[in-house]
């Protein structure tokens, strides 16, 4: 399987203390995505100019001539790069970083089990990404192993994938953090795909008895409006939906895109206004049933 990180002791990706597996590859292209390094199913090299000290270690180790230091400046030629990652390993300031590692399910499983003692008080493992369902077979195998080891698994998903696959993996998932990005009319423009399949999968999971938390990034100027809240409220009537999280926008994706050499599509540099998010939560609570938690 291809992952780009395992973050240990995360406190923000589901209840309790969790290890988060970041799957590489995503079928969506959300303009505001805070993990653009997850888009591609292949490894990607990032270069943070501000961290580079032009030491030239990368140019010495690289066998393909991707790096050179000219007049004290580092120049990276990505077209020659085979993504071996040797330069990133050598880089003393971590200005170069390789995102993406091919690793067996068994190795990921054994890494995750190292923190089993900390998965008490509701914690466990969270699949995130990228989109875990973009590597369905691996995700399923890992989920099964964790289930059998008594580890709670939560899956964060954009909902875009085969419905049968979702229903199959749901047997081993304690709950889904199911993303709802925006209303149907904006979906394709903002994420690159229509949301019909996503909503179909949400219904299917709910009907199958899955526990679902709707995770909704609030993007200023895109979905911080009543129409979106009403849309969320309508989805919350599904029996599987227990909770809605309004996630405040943060601009980390912008700097990540810069170091990955990707164009910035949503360039808002400001953190979400906390008061604004609280107002939206209040408005949403009026629209939803009392037993739906809004966080």
């Amino acid at each position: 399987m291809m992952i780009f990180d395992i973050k240990r002791a995360s406190a923000s990706d589901g209840p309790g203390l969790r290890s988060v597996v970041f799957f590489k590859g995503c079928p969506l292209r959300c303009a505001w995505c805070h993990n653009p390094e997850s888009y591609s199913a292949s490894p990607q090299l990032s270069y943070a100019e501000e961290k580079c000290v032009s030491c030239g270690k990368c140019s010495q180790i690289c066998e393909h001539g991707c790096h050179e230091i000219k007049n004290g400046a580092h120049i990276y030629s990505s077209e020659k790069c085979v993504l071996c990652g040797k330069c990133a390993e050598e880089c003393p300031t971590k200005a170069l970083k390789l995102y993406g590692e091919e690793i067996s399910v068994d190795r990921v499983f054994s890494k995750l089990l190292r923190d089993k003692a900390y998965y008490v008080f509701g914690g466990g493992v969270t699949f995130s990404g990228g989109e875990p369902m973009s590597q369905f077979e691996e995700a399923l195998e890992l989920a099964k192993k964790l289930y059998e080891a008594g580890v709670s698994v939560c899956m964060e998903s954009c909902g875009y994938g085969n419905t049968e696959d979702f229903l199959e993996i749901a047997k081993y998932i304690d709950f889904f953090l199911f993303d709802v990005k925006c209303v149907k009319e904006l979906h394709k423009r903002c994420t690159g795909v229509e949301n019909d399949l996503i909503i179909k999968n949400l219904h299917a999971l709910s009907d199958a008895g899955a526990k679902i938390i709707l995770r909704c990034p609030i993007i200023p100027g895109v979905n911080d409006n009543k129409e979106h809240l009403e849309y969320l409220a309508s989805l919350s009537k599904l029996s599987g939906v227990k909770e809605i999280n309004l996630e405040p926008y943060h601009p980390i994706g912008i700097s990540k895109r810069k170091i990955l050499g990707m164009p910035v599509e949503y360039g808002n540099p400001e953190f979400a206004d906390k008061t604004e998010i609280e107002n939206l939560k209040k408005q949403l609570s009026v629209l939803t049933d009392k037993d739906i938690k809004i966080i």
Binding site: A9, S12, R114, A117, Y118, V120, I252, I259
Partner: protein, 661 residues
């Protein structure tokens, strides 16, 4: 000129030195009686501290305006030479006896511990039985300690009488005066009297440690809310620089009241003994206190401490283990029953390594040869430390009896034996290992760079360290590290620690007691580093050593659980003296996850955890020195991440957020 004994005494008295004057009144008496007389006279005549209008007395700082020779919790008495010389430069010489002039003194290893002996009176017993019954026990025994202890009790009675007179004169709280007329000589009959008694004894013991609060006070408790009273007591402890108290593991309503009273306070250091069945309300109270940034309480894995004690002392009764409490910093003792010898001595492992490596690295053809040579070198250094300590203990028993501790620690009276001569029910000696983590890292780097990868010759390597050659330091930094849950690195660390402890376990004190190993570095890690040349852990000459068993800052780059897993792979349970682990957590992270972090660590074999919550200054320093803050966690919008992994602009934004307190 022939100086008579009385003249010496008179000279001390002439300059207001009660303790020393009394000590020299009659040098023909046994030393225990002389010390008892000094203690008795001191308490009979010392300047009383001011009364603050509260419910407890004595209160506030002890107030030693002019004394140069004073009683000491650890050393029987201490001398402020500068102050004494100002009074009369001839006097100091009289205090140099066989003990003070002995050669078993300070060495390079002493920086990690030298002759302190924190201890704990048996507060609960004194409150329950009263000193009047101690008189009877002393008389009944009719032994060598009879005269001295009786006189000491008389001195304490006079001190109490003077306290009462002062309180009456100042129209103090009537309930306080009434309580002090009863305790500590007659048994306390209610919770207030018990706390007045405890406070009084705390001052008599030179304000050292508080001890077992919840269990010692429980027999007197009839449902009262004593949080306010405890807060007043804790204020006294804070103002007198007192140390520790332990609560739990037999949780009772006073456990919670103690946690409420300590919220946000520095001292005493409350040690919460955690068992898997600890009630949620205690977790919540601990979190609420830690969130104040006060690092109180510290958290102890009670079942593992019990296992550790039982392995060393198979016959230890459970009721005695229940009196477990860390004293001073956190050295293990059984409250009211022990001469813990904390911290009797240290062993400076990085100094041993540094010297050994420079002399021997080039001579060794394999890592095993190098490793075994280091252990042999440590063994001979340890033997010297232990020999010196035996000599120190023997001389101390002869020259420095401790009548106050003999009175208040079981079973000195019943054994008719001084506290410093093996009179306590348990006598051991806590030996502090300085810089263990540095040695783990040193060995890992030498193994990898010199023997496994053969990247440098021994000569080039050592010269590079001494010249602060960046190539050598960078190579060292890139080696395998302790603190990232790397099995290979951690197993070498565990092997080193196991071998060091094996050697220590072979030794006994001059009283037949065990040496309990500890790793407790506070500011001592800075001091101890000053003498050490550059080391393969990437440490430059003269800089600080690692902090107790924490990973070297900046090496623990894979999160708190990875760091804790590395620590828990060490044979911590063998470090009965106590293996300290300092952990700094961001406040919100701590509030949401403390039980999971602590329970997980303890389930894996962690012994204790000392927590500090993060502040803004730490984040600013992380920007300046990211290599020292790899484990610092912050909240970014809806998720947590490592601060140093974030882009600079995001770091700035997070720092610029208002900190809500």
């Amino acid at each position: 000129m022939i100086t008579t004994l009385n003249n010496i005494s008179q000279q001390f008295y002439n300059v207001g030195e009660i303790f020393a004057g009394a000590m020299f009144e009659n040098e023909d008496l046994p030393i225990f009686d002389r010390m008892s007389h000094a203690y008795a006279e001191y308490w009979s005549r010392k300047v009383l501290p001011a009364y603050n209008g509260g419910k407890l007395y004595p209160c506030g700082p002890l107030g030693e305006p002019d004394y140069a020779v004073t009683p000491s919790a650890s050393y029987v008495y201490t001398v402020d030479k500068e102050r004494l010389d100002k009074k009369d430069p001839a006097l100091f010489g009289y205090l140099i006896d066989e003990f003070a002039g002995s050669s078993c003194g300070y060495t390079i290893h002493s920086v990690a511990g030298f002759g302190f002996t924190h201890s704990l009176p048996h507060y609960g017993r004194i409150a329950k039985e009263g000193f009047d019954s101690y008189y009877e026990r002393i008389q009944r025994k009719n032994g060598e300690l009879k005269n001295g202890l009786s006189e000491l009790l008389d001195g304490i009675r006079k001190f109490r009488g003077r306290c009462i007179d002062k309180l009456i004169k100042e129209n103090a709280d009537e309930e306080l005066i009434a309580a002090l007329k009863k305790v500590p000589f007659r048994p306390a009959e209610n919770i207030y009297e018990a706390i007045v008694c405890m406070n009084f004894i705390y001052y008599l013991d030179c304000c050292d440690n508080v001890g077992r609060l919840d269990t010692d006070l429980l027999p007197f408790w009839k449902g009262e809310d004593i949080v306010g009273l405890l807060e007043e007591f804790f204020k006294n402890v804070d103002e007198t620089e007192g140390y520790s108290s332990s609560i739990g593991p037999d949780y009772n309503p006073l456990t919670l009241q103690c946690l409420k009273a300590i919220k946000g306070k520095r001292r005493p250091q409350i040690e919460l003994r955690i068992r898997p069945d600890m009630p949620k309300e205690l977790w919540d109270a601990a979190i609420a206190s830690l969130a104040e940034g006060c690092s109180n309480p510290s958290l102890y894995n009670d079942p593992l401490y019990e296992q550790s004690f039982k392995k060393r002392f198979p016959d230890l009764p459970h009721e005695d283990f229940l009196r477990f409490c860390g004293v001073g910093c956190t050295e293990s003792t059984l409250a009211g029953l022990t001469n813990a010898g904390s911290l009797d001595a240290g062993i400076h492992t990085p100094e041993i390594f540094s010297v050994y490596m420079r002399e021997n690295l080039g001579k060794c053809s394999s890592f095993e040869e190098f490793y075994n040579g280091f252990i042999a070198k440590y063994k001979s250094e340890l033997e010297d430390v232990v020999d010196r300590l035996r000599e120190y203990h023997t001389l101390r028993a002869k020259c420095r009896p401790h009548p106050m501790r003999t009175l208040v620690v079981d079973d000195c009276i019943d054994k008719d034996k001084d506290f410093n001569n093996g009179g306590a029910r348990y006598s051991w000696s806590v030996i502090n290992f300085a810089g263990l983590v540095n040695v783990f890292e040193d060995m890992l780097a030498v193994k990898e760079l010199i023997f496994d990868k053969k990247l440098f010759s021994a000569e080039r390597f050592i010269k590079g360290l001494d010249d602060e050659d960046p190539e050598i330091f960078n190579a060292c930094k890139r080696c395998k590290h302790y603190g990232v849950d790397d099995d290979e690195a951690d197993s070498l660390a565990a092997r080193i620690l196991g071998d060091l402890l094996d050697e220590l376990d072979k030794h006994r004190t001059c009283f037949g007691g065990q040496f309990l190993p500890a790793s407790i570095q506070f500011n001592t890690c800075v001091w101890a580093g000053r003498t050490v040349l550059a080391t393969p852990d990437g440490r430059k000459r003269g800089t600080s050593l690692a902090d107790s068993l924490s990973a070297i800052h900046g090496n623990d780059t894979d999160g708190i659980t990875a760091m804790l897993n590395s620590v828990a792979k060490l044979p911590l349970w063998r470090m009965t003296g106590t293996p300290v682990l300092n952990v700094r957590l961001e406040k919100t992270f701590m509030k949401n996850n403390l039980p999971a972090i602590v329970s997980g660590f303890f389930a894996n074999g962690g012994m204790q955890m000392q927590i500090t919550c993060l502040n803004r200054e730490d984040m600013l320093d992380a920007q300046e020195h990211p290599e020292n803050h790899g484990n610092l966690v912050v909240k970014v919008g809806g998720y947590s991440d490592y601060f140093v992994r974030l882009p600079r602009d995001l770091q700035n934004q997070i720092i610029s957020r208002t900190e809500f307190v």
